[in-house]
C-alpha cells in the first residue's frame, strides 16, 4: 500500500504543478491582456478616480475644476457655460467632447513621467493627477461676447491676428456641460431643433455671402488680374449681367445707397468692395477663371483640413461646373459653405500681411509638478497672398467701415477694417448676417467674426454686434 500512497502523492504534486501553471498563465502571461478587458470594472473605477487636470483661461481663471467626493470619485465642474462648445464635456455616461476629448491624455495624466514612475504610483495606489491645460481664452472677454450676441442661433470668434490665439469663442444656443450627464437633459439637447450641441464657430456651415469678397479681391490683387483702381462700367458694374444665358439682376439700388452715398458707375474695384457690389465681383471672378479662383480659395484654407485644438469642419467651395456658378461664387453665393473660423482666418490673412497664423486655443499644458509639458506651437498656417495684395484689401476694408456698408461698426478714435456679408439661403428665411473686421488697421491686435443665422442684413445686424465686441476686446488687448 505504501508504494501506492507515494504514487498518489506524486500524482497530486504533478496536478498541483499544473494548477500553478494555470495560475501563472492568468497572473503573469495573460495578466496584461485580461485586465485590459473593457468589462473589468476596475478600469471605470480608476478612470473615475483620476484627478483630472484643470482647465484655466489665459489669466489663470479656473474654467473646469475637479472635486473629490468621500468615495474618492472625481467630479468635473465648469464655471462658464458659454465655453461648453469649446471645452466640451466629460460625462461618465455620454463620453467626452471638444478639448475634454482632444486633451484627454494630458488631463488624465497618461503622458507624464516614465513607465516606472507610473508603476510605482500604481503600487502605492496613488490616484493619477492629470496635467492642467491653460487656454488662450480670456474669460472676461468670453463672458462679454456671450452677453453681446443675441440668444438666437449665432456665433462669434475673437482672435489675436498676430498669433492666431483665440481670445473668445461663442456659439449660441449653447448648453451647460455640468448637466450633460443627466439623461433627460442630454436627450433634450439631442432633440433641440436649434442643435445646441453643434459648436457653430468651427462646425457650422454657412453660405458666406459678401464677406467672401475679401478672398476674391485678394485673389485679383495677388494675381495682378486687377488693381484697386481698375474701373468697371455698364453691365460689368451694375448689371444686369448675362452669363451664358443666366441673368444676374441689376445692383444699381445698392450703388444708390452705399453707406448713405450715391455711387454712379463707372466704379473702381475699391468702391465695389466698399459698396459690396455683386456684379463687379462676378466680373472679377470671370476674369480670374475657375481654376485660379479655386486655387486662391484653397490657399485661404477652403477644402483643407485645419489643424486645431478641437475638431474643425472643412469649409467647402462646392463644385463650380460653369461660368454661371463661378460668377455667383465670386460674390459669396453659389455652393460655398464655410465655417465662421474660415472667415476669421481670411480676415486674419488681410490683417497679418497675407499670412494666416496657426489658430490656437491652448496656450500651454502644465504637469502637476509645474513643468511645461506642451506649448502653443505658433507659426504660420497658410500664406495665401502677398503682403502688397493684403495691404490693398486692407485699405479697401478700412474704407468699408469709414464710408461703406460697414459704417455701423465704427468706433470713435479707432481705425478699423471690416466687411459685411448678407448671405441668401435656399431655405427661404432671412439671410445670414455676417461681419468680419480687425483693428487697429495699422497694427491689428484683434480680429473678429460675427455670424447671426437668418439675422438679416450684415450691415444692420452683424456690424453693430462686431463693434461692441471689438470695443470690449480692445479694452483688454495688450
Amino acid at each position: 500500500m505504501n508504494t501506492n500512497i507515494r504514487r498518489l502523492g506524486a500524482f497530486f504534486l504533478l496536478v498541483f504543478g499544473i494548477m500553478l501553471g494555470g495560475l501563472t498563465y492568468w497572473q503573469l502571461i495573460d495578466a496584461a491582456a485580461i485586465q485590459a478587458r473593457t468589462d473589468n470594472p476596475r478600469l471605470q473605477m480608476q478612470a473615475l478616480q483620476i484627478r483630472r487636470g484643470r482647465i484655466l483661461d489665459r489669466n489663470g481663471t479656473i474654467l473646469a475644476n475637479r472635486t473629490v467626493d468621500a468615495q474618492g470619485i472625481v467630479h468635473r465642474t465648469y464655471t462658464d457655460p458659454s465655453l461648453s462648445p469649446v471645452i466640451g464635456y466629460d460625462s461618465p455616461r455620454f463620453g467626452k467632447s471638444e478639448l475634454e476629448k482632444s486633451y484627454d491624455a494630458f488631463l488624465t495624466g497618461q503622458d507624464v513621467g516614465t513607465n516606472w514612475q507610473l508603476q510605482v504610483n500604481q503600487w502605492e495606489h496613488k490616484p493619477v493627477v492629470g496635467d492642467d491645460v491653460q487656454l488662450t481664452i480670456d474669460d472676461r472677454l468670453q463672458q462679454q461676447v456671450a452677453s453681446i450676441l443675441p440668444n438666437t442661433p449665432s456665433a462669434a470668434i475673437v482672435a489675436d491676428p498676430r498669433t492666431g490665439e483665440i481670445l473668445a469663442m461663442v456659439s449660441k444656443p449653447s448648453f451647460d456641460s455640468n448637466q450633460v450627464n443627466d439623461p433627460t437633459y442630454w436627450n433634450n439637447l439631442l432633440h433641440d431643433t436649434n442643435s445646441p450641441l453643434i459648436s457653430r464657430p468651427v462646425n457650422g456651415f454657412y453660405t458666406p455671402g459678401s464677406v467672401f469678397k475679401i478672398i476674391t479681391l485678394g485673389a485679383a490683387l495677388d494675381s495682378n488680374t486687377d488693381s484697386l483702381s481698375t474701373s468697371f462700367s455698364g453691365d460689368q458694374a451694375s448689371g444686369p449681367l448675362t452669363v451664358d444665358g443666366h441673368v444676374y439682376p441689376s445692383t444699381i439700388n445698392n450703388l444708390n445707397d452705399c453707406g448713405g452715398r450715391v455711387i454712379v458707375p463707372p466704379i473702381t474695384l475699391e468702391e465695389a468692395l466698399v459698396c459690396s457690389d455683386n456684379i463687379t465681383f462676378a466680373s472679377v471672378g470671370l476674369q480670374l477663371g475657375t481654376s485660379r479662383f479655386l486655387d486662391y480659395a484653397h490657399r485661404f484654407g477652403l477644402e483643407q483640413p485645419i489643424p486645431f485644438d478641437i475638431p474643425v469642419s472643412i469649409s467647402r467651395t462646392g463644385t463650380i461646373p460653369d461660368r454661371v456658378a463661378l460668377a455667383g461664387s465670386s460674390f459669396g453665393q453659389g455652393s460655398l459653405y464655410v465655417t465662421p473660423l474660415q472667415m476669421l482666418m481670411a480676415d486674419e490673412a488681410i490683417a497679418d500681411g497675407g499670412s494666416i497664423p496657426q489658430p490656437a486655443l491652448v496656450k500651454q499644458v502644465t504637469a502637476p509638478d509645474g513643468s511645461v509639458v506642451k506649448q502653443e506651437s505658433g507659426g504660420t498656417l497658410f500664406s495665401p497672398i502677398s503682403a502688397a495684395a493684403a495691404a490693398g484689401v486692407k485699405s479697401a476694408m478700412t474704407a468699408v467701415v469709414q464710408q461703406g456698408t460697414g459704417v455701423l461698426a465704427q468706433i470713435p478714435g479707432v481705425r478699423m477694417a471690416g466687411k459685411t456679408g448678407t448671405a441668401e439661403t435656399s431655405d427661404g428665411g432671412l439671410p445670414h448676417a455676417w461681419f468680419v473686421c480687425f483693428a487697429p488697421t495699422d497694427h491689428p491686435k484683434v480680429a473678429v467674426v460675427v455670424l447671426v443665422e437668418h439675422g438679416g442684413e450684415g450691415a444692420y445686424v452683424a456690424a453693430p454686434l462686431a463693434k461692441q465686441i471689438m470695443q470690449a476686446a480692445l479694452a483688454i488687448a495688450h
Partner: protein
C-alpha cells in the same frame, strides 16, 4: 495516556503563523483606516489564543502527533479569516467563530473515540447516516444561497451542509470496507477469454454507496461534490488494491457518464460550453468566470495588497471564488505559497498514512488527504479554467461553517492516527 509534554516545534510555528496573520490584519486596518485601529486586532488575538490553547491541549491528549500539520492548517485558516474579513467584515467574524468551533471539534476528536480503529466497526452505519442526512436535506432542507437547490439543513440562522459531513463518513466507510476486502480485490481474478478481469462483484457495496451519494448530489445539482466523491472513491480503491485497473475503469465509466450527461442534461451541457468558451457569454453566464480571471490578472505576481484591490467585483467571491480574491490581493506569490502549504499538508498526511501500521488507519489517512487534494484541484482548476467550474470550497480558505468544521475534524482524525504511531518517528 502519557504525561504532559509541550510541543515546542508546533508552538514556535504557531507563533510564526500567528504573527503573519496578525500582521495581515494590521495591514488591512491601515489600508482601510489609514492608521492602525487597535480594535481591529481583537480578532487575530482570539485566533492566535485559540491555536495556542489547542496546541496545549494536544500536549496532553496527542503528545506524539505530528507537529507540522496543525500550524499549517492554522495558518491557512488564519489567512482565510483575514481575507474573508477584508471582503465582508461580518462574514469574517463568523468564519473566526467557525474556526474556533472547528478547533473545539478537533480537540474532541482527539479524545473521543479513544481509538480511530473503533470507527471501522460501524462502517455501514456511518455510510447510511451520511446518506440519510443528505436525503433529509433534499426533503426538509433550506436553500440558503438561493441556488434553487436545498443544500443546507438547520434553523435559526445556523445552517450546515451535510455534504461536508458525508465526505468524512464516506472516507471512513471506504477505508473500513477496503481494508476488509482488499486482499480479495487485489488478488482474485476471473478469466474471461484472454482477459483477466478483477472480481468486480466485491466492489458492489462500494459502488452502491458511491452511486447513492452521487444520485443524491446530482439531485441537488452539486456537481462539484459529485466529482469530489468520484475522486475520493478512485484514489482510495487505488491505494487499497494497488490495481490500476480499478481507477482506470472507473475513469472510463466516468468519461462515458459525462458524455451521456452532456447529451441528457442541459445544465451539464451549459457548464461544458461555458468552460470551453466563456468569452462569448461575458455579460451572461460567463460573467462570474471572467470576472474571476480578471481579478487574477489584476493581482499579477505581487498582488494589489490587502484591502487595496477590488475583489468584491467578483460574484460569490467569499466561497467558490475565494481564489480570485487571494490572487488579486496577494498575487501569484501569495497564492503559490497557499497552494504550497496545501500540498505540504497533503504530503505530511500521506507520510502519516505510510507510517501507520493499521490498514484502516492507513487508508483513512490517505483518503482524508485525497479529499483535501482533490477538493483543491476541483476548485483551483475550475477557477483557472483548467477544467469545468464546479463549486466546492477551497479547503480552510473559503467561507463556510460546515466546510471549516469538517476540515478540522478530518485533521483531528489525521492527528489522532499520527499520535497513535508508536515506533517510527521522523
Amino acid at each position: 495516556m502519557r504525561g504532559y509534554r509541550l510541543r515546542w516545534t508546533e508552538l514556535a510555528l504557531l507563533t510564526f503563523g500567528g504573527a503573519i496573520v496578525t500582521g495581515g490584519f494590521s495591514l488591512l486596518s491601515m489600508a482601510q483606516h489609514r492608521h492602525l485601529l487597535q480594535s481591529d486586532l481583537r480578532y487575530p488575538g482570539i485566533y492566535v489564543a485559540s491555536t495556542i490553547l489547542l496546541s496545549l491541549w494536544m500536549s496532553k491528549f496527542a503528545t506524539r502527533a505530528d507537529q507540522l500539520v496543525f500550524p499549517v492548517i492554522a495558518l491557512m485558516a488564519g489567512v482565510g479569516i483575514l481575507v474573508i474579513t477584508r471582503l465582508d467584515v461580518a462574514l469574517g467574524h463568523r468564519q473566526l467563530f467557525w474556526t474556533v468551533l472547528g478547533e473545539v471539534a478537533l480537540a474532541l476528536v482527539l479524545v473521543f473515540p479513544r481509538r480511530v480503529s473503533t470507527l471501522r466497526l460501524y462502517k455501514y452505519s456511518w455510510a447510511f447516516l451520511g446518506l440519510l442526512l443528505i436525503a433529509a436535506t433534499i426533503v426538509a432542507g433550506t436553500d440558503v444561497s438561493g441556488s434553487g437547490y436545498k443544500r443546507w439543513i438547520g434553523f435559526h440562522g445556523v445552517y450546515l451542509q451535510p455534504v461536508e459531513l458525508l465526505k468524512i463518513l464516506m472516507a471512513i466507510f471506504f477505508a473500513a470496507y477496503l481494508d476488509e476486502k482488499r486482499e480479495l480485490l487485489a488478488s482474485a481474478r476471473i478469466q474471461i477469454g484472454p482477459i483477466r478481469v478483477p472480481p468486480f462483484q466485491y466492489l458492489a457495496p462500494l459502488v452502491v454507496m458511491w452511486g447513492l451519494s452521487l444520485l443524491l448530489l446530482v439531485k441537488q445539482n452539486d456537481l462539484g461534490s459529485a466529482l469530489l466523491f468520484l475522486g475520493i472513491f478512485l484514489a482510495m480503491i487505488y491505494v487499497g488494491t494497488a490495481r490500476a485497473i480499478y481507477p482506470v475503469s472507473g475513469l472510463l465509466m466516468f468519461v462515458a457518464g459525462v458524455f451521456l450527461a452532456f447529451h441528457l442534461f442541459s445544465h451539464v451541457r451549459t457548464r461544458t460550453e461555458l468552460w470551453l468558451d466563456p468569452w462569448s457569454r461575458a455579460s451572461g453566464t460567463g460573467y462570474q468566470v471572467i470576472q474571476g480571471l480578471i481579478a487574477l490578472g489584476v493581482g499579477g505576481v505581487g498582488g494589489q495588497g490587502l484591502g487595496q484591490g477590488h475583489p468584491n467585483f467578483v460574484p460569490v467571491v467569499t466561497t467558490d471564488f475565494i481564489l480570485s480574491a487571494l490572487g488579486e490581493e496577494l498575487g501569484l506569490a501569495g497564492v503559490a505559497c497557499l497552494l504550497g502549504l496545501l500540498i505540504f499538508l497533503v504530503f505530511r498526511g500521506l507520510s502519516v498514512a505510510i507510517s501507520a501500521q493499521d490498514g484502516f488507519e492507513k487508508l483513512l489517512a490517505a483518503g482524508l488527504m485525497a479529499t483535501l487534494a482533490i477538493q483543491t484541484i476541483v476548485i483551483v482548476g475550475g477557477t483557472t479554467r483548467l477544467m469545468p467550474l464546479t463549486g466546492v470550497p477551497l479547503p480552510f480558505l473559503s467561507y463556510g461553517g460546515s466546510s471549516v468544521l469538517a476540515n478540522f475534524v478530518m485533521i483531528g482524525l489525521l492527528l489522532k492516527i499520527s499520535s497513535g504511531i508508536t515506533e517510527r518517528r521522523d
